[in-house]
């Protein structure tokens, strides 16, 4: 649902200009220094990019899902590192509080997340618990009016910059699965928290992940999201469910960018006395990419609209995430191919995108986990 077409158009134009004029020219710098420059962060704060999904009453834009994916299509056009920096506040770092938090938790944290004053990060994955998130081992033991958290979280996006963590931990050791898990909001400056050194990643330089180690971290009972035990895994799954459409939309945007770069290259590069875009084998790659991007875009928009209508889109969102992210890697691979040797050289953005987009198929549920979700839903429906 788009609430007002004209307003949306202005919003998208404004974001697009910002991306084209302020972000794309700085991509190489970000990739080389592995840092997003402070002036860009402050511009992103000024524009209000940290609060896209947070409701207006807390200082955000309160975009609908359809509006959000349209914005994400645009954001996908530049280095995913920029998106990652604002991504957790608009996604996994805030949604838990937004969906299941108490009024006090919402009014305490959401305005600061919306303004970009603090970054939020999401701590689910552990060294021995990734796809099988329900097996997580981090514990939160009740002690009077407090909980004491112990455990290690892995690959946590924006951990080195975060002001708060949404932490999934086991409050009931007797229940091994999902029902023993609760979600907490933990300030990053609490005693006992250590942030590991930044992971060295394949791509998305400028976006940082690290371990977050909790060593007897004492938090008040009021830090429990929704002040309810045993529903933390549900909260985490709801968070990821919404995030899937966002990631799918980013993948569509990134594929569009790669294809634009590749088309431009093909129309300029001459071999055998002609531009290579004259060759049907190149045209085949361009056309296949175009069609796949279009298909993924339609899926994302359809699922987003259905979600705005209040329908359960678990299957659609997983289909979209799986298809769009796999499609993006195929388009990036063809993009490198169209660039020839240049596609393997860092001077061309396509080399960087090829590595950057690989992540989309791994996090917030691997492709295989999406397959598991989709088929499980199919079987469940058929049985009903």
């Amino acid at each position: 649902m788009i609430r007002d077409q004209e307003t949306m158009q202005i919003l998208l134009d404004s974001i697009r200009s910002f991306i084209n004029e302020a972000l794309i020219p700085r991509e190489e710098e970000v990739s080389e220094t592995d840092e997003i420059p402070e002036d860009i962060i402050s511009q992103m704060r000024d524009m209000g990019l940290f609060g896209l999904t947070i409701p207006e009453e807390f200082g955000g834009l309160g975009v609908t899902m359809e509006e959000e994916v349209n914005i994400a299509f645009e954001l996908g056009h530049t280095s995913p590192a920029f998106r990652s920096f604002i991504g957790t506040n608009n996604g996994i770092g805030s949604i838990g509080i937004l969906l299941d938090g108490t009024d006090v938790q919402k009014s305490t944290y959401l305005p600061r997340l919306a303004s970009g004053d603090i970054l939020g990060a999401f701590c689910l994955t552990e060294p021995d618990s990734g796809s099988d998130a329900a097996s997580l081992r981090t514990t939160a033991v009740r002690d009077g009016n407090d909980y004491i958290i112990n455990g290690t979280k892995r690959y946590i996006t924006n951990a080195p910059h975060a002001g708060i963590f949404t932490v999934m931990a086991r409050t009931n050791p007797d229940i091994k699965g999902a029902k023993g898990i609760s979600a907490f909001i933990v300030d990053s400056d609490v005693k006992g928290i250590t942030i590991g050194k930044r992971d060295k990643k394949m791509g998305q330089k400028g976006a940082h992940t690290a371990d977050v180690i909790f060593d007897n971290v004492r938090v008040p009972a009021s830090a429990l999201i929704g002040e309810k035990e045993g529903v933390g895994f549900k909260t985490a799954m709801k968070v990821l469910d919404k995030g899937r459409l966002h990631i799918a939309a980013i993948a569509v945007g990134a594929a569009e960018r790669v294809l634009e770069d590749s088309l431009r290259y093909a129309m300029e590069r001459k071999q055998f006395g002609r531009t290579i875009s004259d060759f049907q084998l190149i045209q085949g790659m361009l056309a296949d990419s175009k069609a796949e991007i279009y298909a993924a875009k339609c899926m994302v928009l359809d699922a987003a609209r259905k979600r705005d209508e209040g329908l359960d889109v678990s299957t659609e969102a997983s289909c979209a995430k799986m298809f769009a992210t796999e499609m993006c890697s195929r388009v990036a691979d063809k993009g490198v191919q169209i660039h020839g040797g240049a596609g393997y050289i860092s001077e061309y953005a396509v080399e960087r995108f090829y590595r950057d987009v690989r992540l989309f198929r791994l996090y917030e549920g691997t492709t295989q986990i999406q397959q598991v979700i989709i088929s499980r839903n199919m079987i469940r429906e058929a049985e009903a």
């Binding site: 004209e6 158009q9 202005i10 134009d13 404004s14 084209n20 302020a22 524009m47 990019l49 834009l61």
Partner: protein, 253 residues
């Protein structure tokens, strides 16, 4: 102080212009439109004057089709307080725009009118000058600086103008007309929450008839053509060959 800012809806500067096959005009179907870049600078200057406490109210105005309201909303998102849309689907030439703006000036009585020095579609560079003449206001065109206070007499604005070979400063008695050049300022990006709020700001619609201005044109557009394609150059082997070609082929020596 009240500031009136004029904005125009034009083809986005990133778009590659296409001419209609029958050469009657530029092809606008499915073409991305945007605020004229010089008008963006005009809006930015007005907003800065308001931030400095010099301006108290900013009114944005445009002349154009219904869709031009998008550019007014953008101006509102950037900081204009209200907007006036003079709605017409006609092709309106500079003089008619100046007359319409004059009518708005008569109604609004602004202390300062800021316009772009030209619009990137027709590049006429005359609306501001015509408005100044019609309304009897002083004009500071091609502004690279607009100053109030700071040694400038009350009731005046000092405009630094970019002219061939240098800068010229003029003091204009208010109300006055200023047209913006590229170096006046660097427009900001609209804050996204302000874009959402812009919808709630007042936008009034007028018609040329109600303002008593006939927009009918004194000009007839005969033909539009794309610029001639640049022919490929040649490399010459020596100075002698160059001189020979200039003499005998180009016949300029």
């Amino acid at each position: 102080m009240k500031v009136l800012v004029a904005v125009k809806r034009v083809i986005d500067y990133n778009v590659k212009i296409r001419v209609k096959p029958d050469h009657t005009d530029v092809d606008l179907t499915n073409v991305k439109m945007a605020m004229n870049p010089f008008c963006e600078i005009a809006v930015e200057e007005a907003v800065r004057l308001k931030e400095k406490g010099v301006a108290t109210e900013i009114v944005a105005v445009t002349v154009g089709p219904k869709a031009a309201q998008e550019q007014l909303r953008t101006a509102l998102a950037l900081g204009a307080d209200r907007a006036i849309h003079v709605e017409t689907d006609e092709r309106v030439e500079s003089l008619a725009v100046a007359k319409l703006l004059k009518a708005v000036v008569d109604e609004e009585q602004p202390d300062l009118v800021i316009l772009g020095k030209q619009a990137i579609d027709t590049d006429n560079n005359q609306t501001g000058q015509m408005l100044a003449a019609l309304s009897g206001m002083g004009q500071g065109t091609f502004a690279s600086e607009v100053a109030f206070g700071d040694g400038v007499e009350d009731g005046y604005v000092r405009v630094t103008r970019e002219i061939d070979g240098g800068l010229q400063s003029v003091a204009l008695k208010l109300p006055a007309v200023v047209t913006t050049d590229l170096r006046l300022n660097e427009p900001r990006y609209a804050k996204l929450p302000d874009i959402m709020k812009a919808k709630k700001k007042p936008l009034d619609t007028r018609t040329p008839e109600a303002l008593g201005v006939a927009v009918s044109s004194g000009l007839e557009l005969l033909k539009v053509e794309t610029p001639a394609e640049r022919k490929g150059g040649v490399k010459v082997g020596s100075v002698d060959e160059l001189i020979d070609k200039l003499k005998n082929e180009a016949k300029v020596l």
